[in-house]
Symmetry: C3
């Protein structure tokens, strides 16, 4: 799956896109592995209803790990590497009837920390 991000930091709701993939693969029941093959992006599950939740999370992470700081890595994106390790690059989610089994308020986010870029997401089905 390809994801085009438009800002340096961006929470992309990929719930619908993952469900589309599951339907195309006729997933049935089982689980799905989501894996980010990049080192400055991550995955997280959080509230999908109020955009302020992801805004607060982004603001918290930016304050905790500022873009510029006393970093040794010369590319100027050390903060993005650190944020990626804090959230993590893989998720394993339950699937039923070819759809993600999420809680009522949950959405799956691909989190860009060093965009804008064109990113890939690996999905692997386990039935």
């Amino acid at each position: 799956m390809t994801i085009k991000t438009n800002q340096r930091v961006e929470f992309c709701d990929i719930t619908a896109a993952v469900n589309e993939f599951l339907q195309k693969e006729q997933a049935g029941d089982g689980s799905v592995l989501l894996f980010v093959p990049h080192t400055t992006a991550a995955l997280t599950v959080n509230e999908g209803a109020d955009p302020a939740v992801r805004g607060d999370l982004a603001a918290f992470l930016e304050k905790l790990v500022p873009h510029t700081g006393d970093y040794k890595h010369a590319e100027g994106n050390s903060d993005a590497h650190i944020k990626a390790s804090l959230l993590g690059s893989n998720l394993y989610l339950p699937v039923k009837n070819g759809k993600l089994v999420l809680g009522f308020w949950q959405a799956v986010y691909f989190v860009e920390f060093d965009g804008p870029r064109t990113r890939r997401l690996q999905l692997q089905l386990l039935t």
Copy 2:
């Protein structure tokens, strides 16, 4: 599985309950997916022996992400959403002879960040 929490922030040791589930399902060898279908609770594996360890972790998280702060989300639980994303909502654990294969000091915790509530935990067996 249902978990009843009694405080706003609470580390519930669910190791025995997960093992009970595995025995009821006659799990054998394989692995089990644990997934929290909520956005203000999480899962973590850490020491089960000394309660001070989870106390220190809770105190650290409370200091890092205070309950009240400059948040935009109007429900007053933005800190709980942030803490949930930091620890993560899913775990994938190895199973042998119908029991979790954990290290000697390890326990599995359901972590409540916005209780007290009645919570659900999804378990999915993979043999």
Copy 3:
């Protein structure tokens, strides 16, 4: 798998060792679960090329969770328990042709937070 660490905090690149395990097991296509049966060590995926990236991550974590502080746990390693829960103790990674499917810049790290010690890592194949 056994890992010998030499410092208190150490990022051990285990990518080659995991691939060796996969080849020995004739893994083919599927996925692999990595699980740390300890409470003061963790796993993360991040850049393998520039050592400054893991240096910056280690320095960030040390500043965020100092070795000494107002902790209740009497063994003097509460910081290591906290860091372990922040990064997480399990990873689930895709496998193809008996090799980890990683992004170009990615490496898999076993992260020691309370060494030096001899550590174990559990690997479980799912094909």
